[in-house]
Every structure is written in C-alpha cells, then in structure tokens.
Amino acid sequence: MINTSEILHTIEMIDRQHLDIRTVTMGISIRDCADPDPEVCAKNIYDKIVKYAGNLVETANIVERELGIPIVNKRISVTPIAIACEACKTDDYTIFAKALDAAAKKVGVDFIGGFSALVQKGMTKGDEKLINSIPKALAETDLVCSSVNVGSTKAGINMDTVRLMGQIVKKTAALTADSGGLGCAKLVVFANAVEDNPFMAGAFHGVGEPECVINVGVSGPGVVHEALKGCRGQSLDVVAETIKKTAFHITRMGQLVAQETSSRLGVPFGIVDLSLAPTPAIGDSVADILEEIGLETVGTHGTTAALAMLNDAVKKGGVMASSRVGGLSGAFIPVSEDAGMISAAKKGVLTIDKLEAMTCVCSVGLDMIAVPGDTTAETISAIIADEAAIGMVNSKTTAVRIIPAPGKVVGDEVEFGGLLGSAPIMPVHNQASDVFIHRGGHIPAPIHSLKN
C-alpha cells in the first residue's frame, strides 16, 4: 500500500518541481506514400498522418488526466522526407513540408519532425533537393522541424554537406528574420543521429523503425535539483546516488505513460528517452542542478566534470526503470530553454567554447545558441564540423542548433517564446575558418570504427 508521504511527495514533484512528461511522440513510417507526382505524394503523407495520429492528442490528454501528470507536448515524427519523397518529380520539397504542417495542425500536435536527410557519407539527388528546400520549408510552415545528419562514427564526416549546411542555416535565418531567425530553432545538424528520438527539432522516424510507434521523453530537472538540496555538504558519491534514485522515479512514470498511451492507441511502445530536458520556467533548469552540485555559475571550471556525473547518473538510474531505453538519453543543455544557462551566458561565464567541451560528456550538442547575425556561413560550418568531430570520435550523438540572429550583435537578446525561450547573443571567434571549410571532401571515420 502506498503511504501518505509517497503520495504527497509525488504531488509536490508535479506541482512545485515541474515534473512532467515532456513529449509523447508518435513515429509514423511514410515510406509507402511515395508517388512520382508530388501532389499525390503530399496528399498520401497528409492522409496517412491524419489517419494514424487522429486520436493521439485526445488519448494523451486522457492519460494525462487519469494519472494526473502533465504531458506537455504531443508530437509526430515521420520517415526522413528525403527518403520518402525521392521518387517525386520536383526540385522543391516545400510542398511536403506544407503537407506535414497541415497534418500536424489537423491532428493538433505541437511539432512534427522528419523534414530530414541522412547524408553522412554523401548526398543523393533527393537529399540535395531536400537540404536546399529547408530555408523555404521552415519559413513557410509553423510546426515542421528539420534535421540533417552529416557525420557518424562509422562513416566519418561529410564536409561538403557541412559546408552547405552553414549556408542553409544562414538562409533559414534570413527568411525568418522577422521572428529573430526562428526557422533555425527548428533545424538541427547531427552526427550519429538516432532513429527513435522523441525530442524536437531532431526527431525523425528511422528506416529501421516499425510502421508506427510511441516514444516518450521524460523531463524533471527541478526534481533532481530539489533532491540534491538534501545532499549539501556531502560527497559526490552521495550526489551521484541521489541523482540515480531520482532519475529512476522520473523514468518509471515515463514508462507508465508510454505503456498506457501505446496500449490505448493500439500502437507498439518504442522507447523511453531518459533525458533531463529543461524549460525556460524558473526551477526547471539543468544549470541549477550543476550549480547546486557546487559551481558558482554554470560554465566555470568544474562544469564539464559535474555534467559528466549528472549525465551518467541519469542513465544509470533511468535504465533500470524502463523496459526499453533509447533516443538521446542524458542531460540536455539548450541555452535559450534554460533560465540558468541564459543567466550564465549573459554574464559571459558560459561561452560557446565551454559549451562545446560540455557536449563531449552530455547527450546532445550545441543547442539553441544565438550568435551575431553577421557570423559567416563558413564559421557556422566550422562550428558544425567541431561538434560532428566530437560525436564521431566519441561514438555519441552530437548536434548543432544555432541561430545567427539577423541584425543582432553581442549584448542583444532574441526572444522565441514558449518552450524555445530567449537567447542572449553569444560571441564567436572572429578568425576565419574559410580555407578549411572550402577544402570540402570527407573526414575519414576514426580507426575505432573498424569493429568487425
């Protein structure tokens, strides 16, 4: 029998520590929607999404109400459009982004991901068309998210596409200049992208995934922060144990929501993503956890070590709580979406260089970082290359979601609203990387990729 203190503890986590399910994401294969006629293909995609996800939001809302746990976002991911639509006779893939957007609005989800291409070894014609369509597609839709995988441990880094992505990020910012370059907040460049990620902007439904699947992403930095307040003055062993236990509780809830939602929808349960995902709300911050561990301001010396421990303890606690773990699983450090990160960046303590080091030990990469509007495409490409190299060599996922905010300079701030938050403009190095980026070609896979 559950006792009173356990019940009140759970309610306090939900009410005061922002415990929630960040997302229930339905992955849908659209490989069978292909047609040479782009209009027919777009209609097939729209119809299939509406058919499969028609009850997603309503079902998630019922589960939310019955269990009394907020489910913040309902989302959809689809097969990378570059694969699903390659047979279409068109050069502009914006039509498919619009079909995704319309379907997402029809079923009432918050985001839809999968305007994506996997080009770690090279681009097909469809990949190239998709990538060149990204700026317009993101400017002309509201809910569509896009991702491009440019490198992997097995394949190395496709530097020709890295160069192209620098230009695409700049164009996307230019076409969405009215909203501070918001399009770039919906575009992520990956290395070692995972096929079952429920989080945006990087979610897509991988080619090895089933017809339809439910993946769940949990949240809960505030709960970890609160638990750590009880460990002040104690050793890091105690801190790591406390994080593990808290992650276990959080993930058990994610597992329950995933099972409930998938059984009600008659769709297989995929994975629980064990990520600590912050929001801009006060008290829902990964930076606060790192500062609670003992750093005056996140970004100072010791941040990487504290984050490494946090990331590892979250996985160790969470993995026992779920029958299937996947996605990105770890701690997220999106600057604009975390009040503590925003504050540290404004003080100049948290820099892009330090964030890059932090991405070596956490689950993602340089995420939601705003840089001056006059940052060159080559510099953005070089930042992407650095992150992809970290992912490639360390056999982990890394990503870059960077916003060269048009007309903004260091000291300014750009506001995106909602979960995307607001970002202070962070300085980049002014020394050029142009010659390196213009070389093009391929960075070969590291020797430890040869495992067979």
């Binding site: 019940i7 009140l8 309610i11 109400r65 269990l67």
Partner: protein, 89 residues
C-alpha cells in the same frame, strides 16, 4: 479501479462531508481516509474505488477539480498506478 484523491487547502468546517457527498452521489466507495492539519493547512488523502462510478474518469476528475476551485481547495483524483509505478518495483 483504485484511485487516490488528494485534497489540499485552508481548513474549514465540512470539507470531508462536502467531498464525501460528491463521491456518494457518484457511487464511489471510500476504502481509506487519512487526514492531517499542518499549520491550518488541510491535507486529506483518500483511497477510493471508482469501478461502480458511472461517470467517465476524465469528467469525474474535472468535476472534483472545478468543485475544489469553487471552495478554494486543490482537489485531484489520480489512478493509483502512478504512485505504484513511481514508488514500488
């Protein structure tokens, strides 16, 4: 199906009677009640059986929440599963 009702808020006369009336009207059996007052703050936890309740669970949840808002209390009903998932292996 077992569910947990929690009632939190400022103490006053008749809270338990008030909530029990709603539950009785909806054929909900109370299995256990624990209640304390912490610095005038009323905290009640009820374990109830909703299997004979004819009202949809979501509607019941909305009814209790809105009734709570009317009388200045936080009232919620949650399936027992969430507490079991979180605190029991």
């Amino acid at each position: 199906m077992k569910s947990i009702i929690t009632v939190l808020g400022k103490d006053r006369v008749g809270i338990i009677a008030d909530i029990c009336t709603i539950l009785a009207k909806n054929n909900i059996n109370i299995l256990d009640i624990s209640q304390t007052i912490l610095q005038e703050f009323f905290t009640m936890i009820m374990v109830v059986d909703t299997s004979k309740c004819e009202m949809d669970f979501v509607e019941l949840s909305k009814l209790l929440t809105s009734h709570g808002e009317d009388i200045g209390l936080s009232i919620r009903i949650q399936r027992e599963d969430i507490f079991n998932a979180m605190h029991r292996i």
